[in-house]
């Protein structure tokens, strides 16, 4: 697509746009073989293989590989699960662990050479994850408190003067059923989308400058250096977003489990 854009526009620089995220199918015309879909499938294989191999022996004194896998697992299990959800956390650890590793791997794909595309910058995947998170935390709450008590707890927060409900009830309902899943998915999507766009700007811009006048050629290395700097920054954002998504899901579950949120 990018090449087409260059060919059509000739000398002028076409800044990267949302069109750059629409990659053609890798094989034939099948919509199921686009790059993000293949990346997501690759992430499932990579995560499964890595953790199955690293956990296979389950030694008391871990090998380096087991230690690496275990550290990630323990980070989610203790740092997010136990810390946020409390004594019932063990039921949710597989879910949170899957969420974290899945998002992290697909985010980091954005800076892995040759892959270089964060699958989470396609909004469909964050939508799916947010819907799953939405269903899980509401299901947990309904199962724990019963549907009537759960919904009443959301709509009429206890310990608030009656007249405040005029204002609070719509806000609370919107928060639980609209804002939470939307912010969850859009935060992840927007971060990955913007990050990738930023890298495209610096790297494609630098490339374009190299083909331009001598003055532009001299500036090009700065653009590349900044692009590399942004890559490190992106890595931080990618890890952070995976953590935030998992952490918020754990918080929602903890809130649904608590008798009075």
């Amino acid at each position: 697509m990018r090449k087409f854009a260059f060919a059509e526009s000739g000398e002028g620089f076409v800044p990267p746009s949302t069109a750059d995220f629409n990659l053609p199918p890798v094989f034939g015309d099948n919509e199921f073989t686009t790059k993000p879909i293949l990346l997501v499938l690759l992430s499932v294989v990579l995560i499964s293989v890595f953790f199955i191999i690293s956990s296979r022996k389950a030694l008391v004194v871990p090998s380096k590989l087991q230690f690496a896998g275990e550290s990630v697992y323990a980070f989610v299990r203790n740092g997010i699960g136990e810390e946020i959800i409390g004594h019932e956390f063990m039921r949710f650890v597989p879910f949170l662990f899957t969420l974290f590793t899945f998002i992290l791997t697909n985010n980091v794909f954005g800076i892995v050479p040759f892959l270089q595309f964060p699958a989470m910058s396609h909004v469909s995947f964050p939508y799916v994850l947010a819907v799953i998170s939405f269903v899980v935390f509401h299901y947990v709450g309904i199962k724990k408190q019963g549907i009537g008590k759960y919904l009443k707890g959301i709509a009429f927060m206890p310990g608030v003067p009656k007249f405040v409900y005029i204002l609070l009830t719509p806000i609370e309902i919107a928060t639980f059923f609209l804002v939470r899943p939307l912010t969850l998915s859009l935060r992840l999507f927007a971060n990955m989308f913007a990050g990738h766009l930023l890298l495209l700007v610096f790297i494609l811009g630098g490339e374009h400058m190299l083909s331009g006048a001598i003055g532009l050629k001299l500036i090009a290395p700065f653009a590349f250096a900044f692009g590399i700097g942004m890559t490190f920054f992106e890595f931080m954002v990618q890890c952070l977003q995976a953590y935030i998504f998992t952490l918020l899901t754990a918080l929602f579950i903890a809130g649904a489990l608590a008798d009075e949120h």
């Binding site: 919509e31 499938l41 896998g69 275990e70 697992y73 597989p94 939508y127 994850l129």
Partner: protein
């Protein structure tokens, strides 16, 4: 081409999801969840449990060893005090026995002394008797000799002589 149209629609708005991606995303996540839940989480939990157990087991072992050491110490102390008591008893017994032996020896020595004294007394008595007898004979012969000298009568005949002496002595005793 259907793809082109859907791509251009999405290009206009990146917030519109692709159906294919929604399906794949859901399946991929579910698949990964099932794999991690069944294969990975139990193994890591097993390792954690084994580790906790190993640490606790080690601590329990140490505690057990300490208890055993305490019991042994108690036993040794008891044995030591018992041995001391026994030694004390043996010493006491030895003292008593020593005293008995001394007492016994003293008795024996006294007995021996008494025996010796008795023997000496007996022998003195015998000697006295003997002295008396010999003295009587001598006194008799001396007296006879004296008398014969005085009387001038030879009283050589032994029988007569002793008869005269006896009569003399009898008279002497009678006159007393």
């Amino acid at each position: 081409m259907s793809f082109r149209t859907s791509a251009s629609e999405a290009a206009a708005n990146p917030l519109i999801p692709h159906t294919a991606e929604l399906i794949v995303g859901f399946i991929a996540f579910t698949l990964l969840f099932l794999v991690l839940r069944s294969k990975v989480v139990p193994m890591f939990e097993k390792a954690f449990a084994a580790r906790t157990e190993a640490i606790q087991g080690g601590m329990e072992k140490a505690e057990k060893a300490q208890r055993a050491a305490e019991v042994a110490l108690e036993q040794y102390t008891a044995q030591l005090s018992e041995a001391r008591g026994e030694a004390q008893k043996i010493r006491e017994e030895a003292r008593v026995q020593g005293a008995a032996i001394i007492e016994d020896l003293r008795g024996k020595a006294q007995e021996e002394a008494a025996r010796i004294t008795a023997a000496a007394t007996a022998s003195i008595e015998a000697e006295r008797q003997q002295a008396i007898t010999s003295l009587r004979n001598e006194v008799g012969s001396l007296a006879t000799e004296l008398a014969s000298k005085i009387v001038g009568e030879a009283l050589d005949d032994q029988v007569r002589q002793s008869r005269i002496v006896d009569r003399f002595l009898d008279d002497l005793e009678k006159s007393k």
